[in-house]
Amino acid sequence: MSNSILEGGTTVAAGATANTVVLSMQQALNRALDEVLAENPKTLVFGEDCGRLGGVFRITDGLQAKHGDQRVFDTPLAESGILGMSVGLAMAGFHPIPEVQFDGFAYPAINQIVCQVARMNYRSRGTLPMPITLRVPSFGGIRAPEHHGESLEALFAHVPGLKVVSPSNPHEAYHLLKYAATRPDPVIFMEPKSRYWQKGDVDPARADAADGAPTGAKVMREGRHLTLVAWGAMVARCLQVAGLAAEDGIDVEVLDLRWLKPIDAGSLAASVRKTRRAVVVHEAPLTSGLGAEVAQLITQACFDTLKAPVERVTGFDVPYPSGDLEDEYIPNIDRILFGIQRVLEYKRG
C-alpha cells in the first residue's frame, strides 16, 4: 500500500459526457488561463519565469507565444514586487493573475498581500476593487527542497479581505480557476503541486449538476458512517482511504471543501447531519489550522446530532520537514484510518 500522495486517487469528475476531455491538472490550469486571457483583454499573467519558460511547473506554457509578452511576462525575482505591482495594476483596471513560484516564497510577499491586496477595497470604500487571482503552487508531497512545499491556507484564510480556494483534480482546477479569475475580489488559488501530473476527466461545459455552486463544497463520494473533510491533495488521499474503509464495511463520505474562505458551512452541515461523524484532514500543522475552524462550524451546526467530537488528522507543529520525513508528516493512510477509528469508537464519558 503506497503512502505517496503522488499515486492513487483517481479523479471523480462529472459523469462523462460528449464534452469530456482527459487532462492533467497542469493542462487543465493552462487551458483555463488560455481561455481567461482570450475572453478578458484586461487579464495579465506574470511572475518569475512565467513567460518564455512557461513557469517551472509549465502552467503558463505557450501563453506568452499566444497572447504576447505584454500580457504574459517575466518579472524580476521579487515577490513583494509582484504583489505590489498587482495592486497598482488592479487600480488601473486590470485583472492580474500573478504567480508565486512556490508556496514558501509567498512569505516575502505577505506584507503586500495582507496590508495592501486584502485591504484596498475596504480602504477605498469599494472604489478600488482588487480583482487579483494569485496562483500559488501549494502543499508538499514532491520531496522538494525547503520552502518548496508549505500549507499556507490558514494564514491566508485568517486575513480579512482574501478568498481562498484549492482544487483537488483537473476538472475542479479548470472550473475553479476560470471562476476565480472572473471575480472582482482577491482570490488565493492554491494548486496542489503533487497533483499537477495526475490526469482526470474534465468537462469544460460543467454539465453535471453534482458540481453544485462554484462557491460551494462538493461531495466526492457518498457515505453513511462518517464524513472526511479535505481539500487539495488530501481529497485524493481521502478517497483512497474511503475505498480501503469500504472493504471493512465502513461507508465514508468524502467532502471536498474547495473554498477555504468562505467555507461552505451549509454543505458541511448537510453532510455531517447525515453521517453524524466527521474527521478533518489537512497537511498544515495542527495548531490554529483550518481543521479547528471546520470542526467549530460542524459543532455549531450539528452539535445535537454528532455522535463523537470532530477529529483532526493533520501535519504536525513542526517546520515542514525534508523529503525523507515528508511521508511521516503528511497525513498518511494509516493515520487517517486511526482518525476514523477514533470517531467510530468514541464512547460518551
Partner: protein
C-alpha cells in the same frame, strides 16, 4: 568597475605562491568533478535534486579561498558547493540536503563557519549584515561573506541589507555571482542600472566588478574586499561575472530559454581549462600534476558518493525534537501520537 580604495599596505596579502595556485587548481577540479557527478547521482536516483554550478568554479573557489575560517562567517545560497568544499566543510553532510535528508544540510554551521544552505533567494543577505554588525559590537575582526545571485539582487531584502550595512559600516562582503541567468530570465531583464555593482554607489559603498572566471582575480578581489571590511571601512560589493552552464537545477530545462549555441557563446572559456593553460604556460604545473589532481578528485567523489548513499533518513522523532530548545506539551503529545500511529509503539 573598481571603486575600492587601496588599503593600508600591511593588510594586503602577498601574491599567490605557486603551491597556492596548484592548490586552487586542485580545488577547482574537485569541485568540477563532484558537481558533474552530483548531476549523475540525480539521474541515477541517488538524490532527488541538485543545483549545479558548472562554470562557476573559479568564482566559488576563489572567493571561498579568501575566507579565514577562524574568524569569518559565510552565508551561502543553495548553489555554493564549491565554496563549501574550499572551506573544508564535510561534503557528505553538505550533500545531505540534496538527498532530502535534512534541510540546510547536516554540517555544523558554527564549526564550519558556513550558515545552513538557504533556499529562499536573498534570504540570508540580511543575516550576513546582522552577523557582521555583531562583530563590530563585540570588537572582533570577522567579516561576513554573503553570496547571492543577480536574480536575488531584485529582492527588497538585498536593498535593505546594503543600506543597513553601509549605514552601520558593517564588515560585509556582498559577493554576487552574476551567472547571467535567474532560471530563465537573463540579467538584462533582471537588473536595472547596468549591474549590481553599479548600485553600490547609491549606498556609498565601494564595488568591484570582476572576471569571475579568473580564479586568481577572484582571490585577489575578495582579499582586498576582506581587508577593507576588516579594517573597519564598511561593506563592499563584488560582482563576479560568470556563466551558469547547463540547467538551473536538475529539474530545469534550459532548452526552453536558450540554445546550446547561445550557451556556448555566452559562457566564454571554461574557467578550469583557462586556469590549466595558465599554469602550464607559466610552468607552475605539468600534465602529471593535472592527472594527479583529477585522480584525487575522483577518489574523493567516490568516497562522498559512498557516504551519501549510506545516509539513511533521519529518525522521525527528530522532526519533533528539533523544533524548539524547550519543547511544548502540544508538540510532545503530537510526537507521542505520531509514534503510536506511525511506528506502532
Amino acid at each position: 568597475m573598481d571603486t575600492l580604495p587601496p588599503v593600508a599596505s600591511g593588510d594586503v596579502a602577498a601574491p599567490l605562491a605557486p603551491a597556492q595556485l596548484r592548490e586552487l587548481y586542485s580545488l577547482m577540479v574537485a569541485v568540477r568533478h563532484l558537481d558533474t557527478s552530483a548531476i549523475a547521482w540525480q539521474r541515477q536516483g541517488l538524490i532527488p535534486g541538485y543545483a549545479p554550478e558548472l562554470g562557476q568554479e573559479a568564482a566559488q573557489v576563489g572567493s571561498g579561498y579568501a575566507v579565514d575560517t577562524t574568524r569569518d562567517f559565510v552565508f551561502p545560497t543553495y548553489r555554493e558547493m564549491g565554496v563549501a568544499r574550499t572551506m573544508g566543510v564535510d561534503m557528505i553532510a553538505y550533500m545531505s540536503t540534496h538527498k532530502a535528508t535534512w534541510h540546510g544540510g547536516l554540517y555544523n554551521p558554527l564549526e564550519s563557519r558556513l550558515a545552513p544552505i538557504q533556499a529562499v533567494v536573498a534570504g540570508s543577505v540580511l543575516h550576513a549584515v546582522g552577523w557582521a554588525h555583531g562583530q563590530t559590537l563585540d570588537h572582533k575582526d570577522g567579516v561576513a561573506l554573503s553570496y547571492f545571485g543577480d536574480g536575488a539582487s531584485s529582492q527588497g531584502d538585498v536593498h535593505e541589507a546594503m543600506n543597513f550595512a553601509a549605514v552601520m559600516k558593517a564588515p560585509v562582503v556582498f559577493f554576487v555571482q552574476n551567472n547571467g541567468w535567474a532560471i530563465s530570465v537573463p540579467t538584462e531583464r533582471q537588473v536595472a542600472g547596468g549591474s549590481v555593482a553599479a548600485r553600490a554607489a547609491g549606498y556609498g559603498m565601494p564595488a568591484l566588478q570582476i572576471d569571475g572566471d579568473d580564479v586568481v582575480a577572484v582571490v585577489e578581489a575578495t582579499r582586498r574586499a576582506f581587508a577593507h571590511a576588516r579594517a573597519g571601512n564598511g561593506p563592499v560589493v563584488i560582482e563576479a561575472m560568470t556563466y551558469r552552464r547547463g540547467p538551473h537545477s536538475t529539474s530545469d530545462d534550459p532548452g526552453r530559454y536558450r540554445s546550446l549555441a547561445e550557451e556556448r557563446d555566452g559562457a566564454g572559456a571554461d574557467p578550469l581549462e583557462r586556469f590549466r593553460q595558465r599554469l602550464l604556460t607559466e610552468g607552475i604545473a605539468d600534465e602529471a600534476f593535472f592527472a594527479e589532481a583529477l585522480a584525487a578528485a575522483k577518489a574523493e567523489e567516490e568516497q562522498i558518493r559512498t557516504g551519501v548513499q549510506a545516509l539513511g533518513p533521519r529518525p522521525g522523532a527528530e522532526m519533533f525534537d528539533l523544533v524548539f530548545q524547550e519543547t511544548t506539551p502540544t508538540l510532545q503529545a503530537q510526537a507521542a501520537s505520531w509514534r503510536e500511529e506511525s511506528e506502532h509503539v
